[in-house]
């Protein structure tokens, strides 16, 4: 295994241990006196009405979906960006074609009103 990724793996392990240590310490020395009033859901001091599930807007999902498509596009663009220096100009044009097709998609979703927050 490449030594770089071993370092990153160890870094992640240390990165998990470092937050846990103060939390464990706090769990040891902090007072524990639970009572129902303290554990009630916080709603600016008013008693909660109804259960804790409300219908959220579907528009959140739509934005995550459009983000997914563009995320995959930008991931494709990273190897393209690295190949620009060695190869001639038409490689740039290939990338522009790629970006152009997806900009057409963005314009389509814009015109269809999918990017509105109704």
């Amino acid at each position: 295994m490449q030594n770089e990724w071993l370092y990153i793996g160890l870094f992640l392990v240390v990165g998990i241990i470092v937050p846990v240590v103060p939390l464990a310490f706090a769990a040891l020395i902090s007072p524990k006196k639970p009572n129902p009033i303290k554990q009630a859901t916080y709603e600016c001091g008013i008693e909660t009405v109804g259960d804790s599930w409300v219908q959220f807007k579907a528009q959140y999902y739509v934005f995550a979906l459009v983000f997914l498509v563009f995320d995959v596009e930008t991931v494709f663009l990273f190897p393209w960006a690295l190949s620009l220096k060695q190869l001639p100009l038409f490689v740039v044009l290939e990338g522009i074609l790629f970006i152009g097709i997806l900009v057409a998609g963005l314009v389509y979703t814009w015109r269809k009103g999918m990017l509105e927050w109704v």
Binding site: W5, E73, V75, S83, L87, G95, L106
Partner: protein, 171 residues
């Protein structure tokens, strides 16, 4: 038992356990989070295979976009985010038998491949795999057509999403 093999076994166990928990846990959000753990294990596998770019892309696309999409979908559509009803059907043993048969068949096929004991070729020191990937994606005699077709596929996905979400119809 080199360190490589130990780490591979640990990651394999993590992925299998997470995948098992995805399908057996009762709370749907927990299923989505176990899926995140399984995807992260796959990213670690890519890193072990020295495919660093794929490991990072796995985290960015799968965990950063697709898992978030799953979690949104679960939270937005399920009123009660708990799986109701019994978890096994009455004829579960037929499914288990079929599953075991398929597993046995696959293991048999894989073990009898002539190349299964071969170790992966060592990448020579001076080769920049990332740049080779980039050059391959845009060279006309390599993979430029799949590269452009991928963008058309993404466009199709976007148009499909617009239509299914109901934005394409005139209201």
């Amino acid at each position: 038992m080199t360190a490589d093999k130990i780490i591979f076994l640990l990651i394999g166990v993590l992925i299998l356990v997470s995948a098992l928990m995805v399908v057996t846990t009762r709370k749907l959000i927990h299923a989505a989070l176990w899926l995140v753990a399984a995807l992260f294990g796959v990213a670690v596998l890519y890193a072990i295979l020295q495919a660093g770019f794929l490991a990072v892309v796995q985290v960015v696309v799968y965990i950063g976009a697709i898992a978030i999409l799953f979690i949104f979908a679960v939270m937005l559509t399920r009123r009660d985010m708990r799986d109701q009803g019994p978890q096994t059907r009455s004829n579960w043993w037929i499914a288990a038998l079929l599953g075991l048969l398929i597993l046995a068949g696959l293991v048999f096929l894989i073990i009898n491949q002539p190349d299964v004991e071969r170790t992966a070729a060592v990448i020579p020191a001076g080769v920049d795999t990332l740049r080779n990937l980039g050059t391959a994606l845009v060279s006309p005699d390599a993979y430029v057509l799949p590269f452009e077709v991928a963008s058309v596929l993404l466009l199709a996905a976007l148009v499909g999403a617009v239509y299914i979400a109901g934005f394409g119809k005139k209201s």
